[in-house]
């Protein structure tokens, strides 16, 4: 009964979470050879001022929002 926590930047639409939960569950179930129904997925969303890389808040480093933008800047 694997329990998976996925920490990401806050703000993804529900359709993305739906796809994420389905894909990760399938990956875990297939890799471990257990039924998908045994897999629990927990998504933890973080505001960008609660995530830092290199000691710098992502709200300072990347501005508001989430995901990669057109400029190739990184995401939370």
């Amino acid at each position: 009964m694997p329990v998976v926590s996925i920490r990401i930047g806050r703000g993804r639409p529900v359709e993305t979470k739906r796809r994420l939960a389905a894909a990760v569950t399938r990956a875990v179930a297939d890799s471990l050879d257990v039924p998908a129904e045994w897999v629990t997925v927990l998504i933890e969303e973080y505001d960008r001022d609660n995530w830092a890389t290199g000691g710098e808040l992502h709200s300072d480093r990347f501005g508001p929002g989430f995901g990669r933008d057109g400029t190739g800047r990184e995401e939370t």
Copy 2:
């Protein structure tokens, strides 16, 4: 100094959290034979679109809300 994290669906009233924290603390303190004052309890609340079982978001599987409803459907 045990530290306990309890992950549940978001939305329980504060009275439920009060009862939960008291009961879990007593269970931990009694089982481990330590003073209750040493026990920390952290409640992590998850929206139903951040919790999935069998690859399916609970918002899709159970609808909005939390806890078991009158139809015996499951909870987050």
Copy 3:
């Protein structure tokens, strides 16, 4: 389907863990009014040199072992 993590010092005998898991599960199930079978309990054991209070490792502060000893010293 609550998921509970309990962080304690390493070394408790299995009988203590058995009692701990049963008591915490009952406390959670009763408080939230869900079936006990929905509750997952995960016990995370820490060596004393991986736990610090006030910036001091518990292996330095309390010596080896776990739990309160006869001198009233604290535990991990």
Copy 4:
């Protein structure tokens, strides 16, 4: 930069972990449209006497070992 924690029963061979990390990373990267290199996967292994369902330790419920066995018994 998603950070994923996967809690499983202890004892899987390294080849299974290798497959698990690769598959979960691909699932996360594809679902969120981020480069695989941004994804961190942490595997947390639990002994069966540190995992309980329904208040019962998995070492009591399923015996030693991990994964589903030939009898269809569940896994940690």
Copy 5:
């Protein structure tokens, strides 16, 4: 690539988080002799009715807010 989670009471201003992330990253990087850029810091904020000490919610024990106040009351 250390990953640090810091659990605190909700409500600190962004300037405090900025200082916290910078200081903790420097402490980790210096202590482990790794580049600061390898360090990830995640801040988890808890409402006071989701944090309990001695079985008592901090919202009951300390009232609303966070941090120590002028009366020397404790914080989450």
Copy 6:
């Protein structure tokens, strides 16, 4: 009462952990203006075959051990 979890590669000597716990505690206490005695630090050690970046286990990517080596290779 901040609770800090630090996830690192397994194998650091106790002197490094002692320095890490002291430095992180001081950073947290100073940044949040709380007494050091309120700060709990938990160190979670991971074997390299339980940590992956880009879908690749660190035991495969960096070989055994931990920390940066003389070739500038990264660490867990």
